[in-house]
């Protein structure tokens, strides 16, 4: 399978975490694909009209995106413990945590794009709103570390680890651990998993 990949995309990282957790890394051919909000990538656009990574081309030529679809597909290819609970409350909880982690990333990506614009082009209301959403999201994780520990490890945990890892990578200035000690301890523990260690974003 071919994966449009980059060492710094947090959504790609989530897919790679799933590949490690499910023992499928050998099946993936990684194609380095750079995308940016101001620069379309024609090679990616050919496989994914939205020009986003990750995008997976399966062995039979089926093209899958976005990241959660790829993750659920990979999770269907192995016989080990599933990262996606099949149904019921466990599934909704896992998908909600996934949506929280992915939504934090969505916010952080546009946050970063906006704050890297020339100052005169920045919208201070947007920046303030982005920061508020990240704080309320961190407060939510802080309240739920007990439930995270109690639930079978899965896609929700991985998505939250990606979001917290991205805060370390691109938003060190926010100091997210301040006021969120339980989340910090939870992340410390999750960061010991090989799937998380082996996918840490490469510094530039």
């Amino acid at each position: 399978m071919k994966l449009h990949w980059s060492p710094r995309s947090p959504y790609v990282r989530k897919v790679m975490m799933v590949a490690h957790e499910t023992g499928l890394t050998d099946r993936l051919e990684l194609v380095r694909s750079v995308v940016a909000m101001s620069k379309p990538n024609r090679d990616v656009l050919r496989d994914n009209p939205l020009g986003r990574i990750p995008t997976l081309v399966t062995d039979d030529g089926t093209i899958l995106f976005d990241s959660i679809v790829i993750c659920e597909y990979l999770d269907s290819l192995h016989a080990g413990p599933k990262l996606f609970p099949p149904s019921g409350p466990a599934r909704w909880q896992a998908l909600r945590w996934h949506a929280l982690g992915d939504g934090m990333l969505d916010t952080l990506i546009i946050f970063r794009n906006e704050r890297e614009q020339p100052p005169a082009q920045q919208n201070p209301d947007w920046l303030e709103n982005f920061a508020l959403k990240i704080t309320t999201s961190l407060d939510t994780i802080e309240r739920e570390t007990g439930e995270l520990d109690a639930a079978p490890f899965g896609i929700g945990h991985l998505a939250l680890a990606c979001a917290l890892g991205y805060l370390d990578f691109r938003f060190e200035d926010l100091g997210w651990r301040n006021g969120h000690p339980r989340s910090a301890a939870w992340f410390e523990k999750v960061a010991q998993r090989p799937s998380v260690k082996l996918t840490a974003p490469a510094q530039e």
Copy 2:
């Protein structure tokens, strides 16, 4: 169940389409919730730290987001034909179409935010890239109308209908039907479904 709702959010529209398709509209109490990129909504933030709609509070107090999680949850509550194929190629195809429709919306939302800024604050490279992604997405739909017709009606079709409906609602100037006659005919047909008719966005 309580749904943070607005008559003009295309993601909320998708959830309401699912509610109509599955006969669950009577179970939903709609709470009008206005959100904007520059203005946080504290009532929504209390239920969803990302401050986004739709957000669902189920009868047992479980809070679910984002839109696709709510859609899959609603689809689990009825006994009729499922909008989410349970597994296999049909599931991946439906989720890929959903990701295409939702990804178009993600792009259109930031496209609209950006082009409504004062001209000096707009980034012309971003605007050009957004327009390109919408064109390549429309080209993809245009190539796949046969497959859309052949597949059981489901969440992928609804997401694409939401995206095309949003183009009509907020981007009439793009004239998306030009060059995409099969997509236009497909949308015309889908727009006859009560779930699509009854959820058309209210003009301001």
